[in-house]
Symmetry: C2
């Protein structure tokens, strides 16, 4: 059950060797493997759930909180959901082989820019065991081998899931070794993984800010960092207040523990006295605690039954991942943009306004992966965007930005077909 | 004339501030600035050439070799060529604002994937002063501010060029501070630049293997590494020998000092005895020294007047940048592919064959930015590919691969326009 550095090197070699064949595998075989995986997740649910039960009991005994325990837990119906997602990926177009550009040069050279897999993708993630399946399946579909390293709380679940996935995939013709799981929680193996740049073409960390920071700073290979969302919604002076209330409420309350949930409400001073009392009472009904700047506090203080806390500097730029919202009154769109520039994480930012010029300025100038006018930031999601799936959300500008799906884990090559051409 | 770390931080702040405005500058203004720069390079050639003359004299006195001296030297006609290249970039389509994807989601949200500048680009390069102009102009056109750090041999030339470019650009409406040159050769400033990840969104190193390696390993921000080309041409058993001779000769001799020039010839054993004597005599006429494996040496030894050297392990995977070619006889396409896999740098690889299956296998399986059938690897170049220009050639798989032009120094953002949508 323990993996060593040597074993990890072997896994790396196997993954790299498998990736060479996987890159040329036909779409049909890959899809068949994915459907096999979906079936196996259902038919072998007992062994998966048994492993998950052991993880759950251990986590419970260690005092894990209810929300985390719930994230860890698998059930027959959750497995059904995961299997359904696998079928969705099987139905997506194969990104590999896509002709991105093609032209005939004046000297008759045929130039083709063609999408190809990256090679081997490493994933280091925490908690939810469904991530094991999601990432493995997206990597396979895009022709990449994968080396997975999940959280220690879900090691048994991940091992059971990986076993089911591997057997189902290899039986359907996926090259042996294409799916690797590090069967150990030894941190030394993570450190070793970060140095395996000859093997791993791209590393995807998913988890808390600490994990992301550690990996970004220490990985020798390219990393797509993301998942940290300090999301602002700016309610402009020309906002439709009904829309503003609905959107802010949804962005904060619908699922507060995820990266695209609202953290800070910025309100234009000219509508703050009308808007804040309405939204604050709505948010209070959902149990939201509000961390208010001086001006918003002055407006909200007279209203009974609100959970108000005076905001301090640490509230700005904080990803709450909980039923907490920071509130600040601003004097202008410019001040809102400056606040976002300073405290945003480049994830998702929204403006609520009926003013087209203000909307256009915000959409252009807010420097984030996803910028919204009159909609909830909760839509930042590969499935919601119609990409069919999501391997993560990038908050960097390099390679991929925002929701990452199949195309975002590929690269391209230039193919040049000639008939004896030489450069004059 | 000396810059300090503090001054570099100021330049960084200025560049970042300028990039915010530059990102929204209209195409017309940017093009006007580029044409202004082209004109100024011509009208102010005297001050540029005077500065270059000082660099040249100092380099000459220090014992720089003739090839390097020639790379360093500017002349009125070379400036004319540089100005012409600037006009070419002005005529290229503006990548900024390009709609990469657009769709209406089932809930009526309008989703737009739009190309935007990266922000601030850093460039660290050696030798040729025209790189100062090339990079500055490509960055401006793509809406990016730029921080340039050229080689110490061309400091005076770069300072003169930067002054001319800055004045011409700012007069035409480019935001002040968008073009920054580090006016010092202090290595401490390079080290500091590598840490400025809050300011520099992408770092482009151009130069020798040592520089590239140092920057890749030490930069805190994303780097597009490239420029190291260990290029193979594989002459297959089904090669048209006339084409093979023309292409190999061109790839090795036409400009041996550049990254897309041929380094190693791989020859299928079944045609080695016919092909090698012909190409070797042609290459010998051009003064090419041949580092031969045992089998090719046995074939070529009887021929008089060839510069033959027995190859050693260090010859495989070596970028010669000179009139030297390594030669190896292989037993199969597979052996050629294995050799390339082991020793290639992921830059440009070619097969010469009339056999479509062999060509197709090579084009698919050789893992490089550019793969050729029946053409010279010398075509790996932004201008040759019809991209209009080139800021470098990436040999990595991440973000951009092969010749990088305007699009490759941009990113994108997702713009979502709603009418009150919330996530159910």
């Amino acid at each position: 059950m323990k993996s060593t550095v040597t074993e990890l090197d072997v896994k790396g070699k196997e993954a790299k060797a498998a990736s060479k064949n996987l890159a040329f595998l036909d779409t049909e075989t890959k899809n068949k493997a994915l459907l096999n995986i979906a079936d196996a997740l259902m038919s072998r649910h007992e062994e998966i759930l048994a492993a998950n039960k052991l993880d759950y009991k251990e986590a419970e005994a260690s005092g894990m909180n209810a929300a985390m325990l719930d994230r860890l837990r698998l059930s027959a119906s959750r497995l059904e959901g995961i299997a359904k997602d696998v079928r969705t990926v099987a139905a997506l177009p194969d990104p590999v082989g896509e002709i991105i550009e093609e032209r005939i040069l004046p000297n008759s050279l045929q130039l083709i820019k063609k999408r190809v897999p990256l090679g081997v993708i490493g994933a280091i993630y925490e908690s939810r065991p469904n991530v094991t399946v999601d990432i493995a399946v997206l990597c396979l579909k895009a022709g990449n081998a994968v080396i997975l390293r999940g959280g220690k709380e879900t090691l048994r679940s991940n091992m059971a899931l990986a076993k089911v996935i591997q057997e189902a995939a290899y039986k359907a013709g996926i090259p042996q070794g294409a799916i690797q799981l590090i069967e150990s929680t030894d941190r030394a193996l993570v450190n070793h993984m970060l140095k395996m740049k000859e093997v791993i073409d791209l590393l995807i960390p998913r988890g808390g800010a600490g994990l992301i920071k550690f990996i970004t700073e220490n990985a020798a290979m390219p990393v797509v960092a993301g998942g940290i969302g300090v999301c602002h919604t700016y309610v402009d002076k020309d906002a439709d207040l009904k829309k503003a209330v609905d959107i802010v409420y949804n962005a904060k309350v619908q699922r507060p523990t995820v990266c695209n949930a609202l953290d800070t409400i910025l309100v234009h001073t000219s509508i703050a006295e009308r808007f804040l009392p309405i939204i604050a009472q709505e948010l209070a009904k959902a149990g939201v605690e509000m961390h208010c700047d001086k001006r918003s506090l002055a407006i909200l203080k007279p209203i009974p039954s609100l959970k108000l806390v005076p905001a301090n500097e640490a509230d700005w730029g904080k990803e709450f991942l909980a039923l907490i919202a920071a509130i600040k009154v601003v004097d202008s769109l410019d001040e809102a943009l400056e606040h976002i520039e300073r405290y945003g994480s480049g994830h998702s930012e929204a403006i609520i306004t009926e003013n087209k010029i203000a909307a256009s300025r915000f959409l252009n100038e807010a420097d984030a992966a996803c910028v919204y006018a009159n909609a909830s930031t909760r839509f930042t999601d590969g499935s919601q965007f119609g990409l069919g799936a999501e391997i993560g959300i990038s908050t960097q500008k390099f390679h991929a930005r925002g929701p990452m799906a199949l195309r975002e884990i590929t690269t391209y090559k230039w193919i040049i077909i000639g008939n004896g051409q030489v450069r004059p």
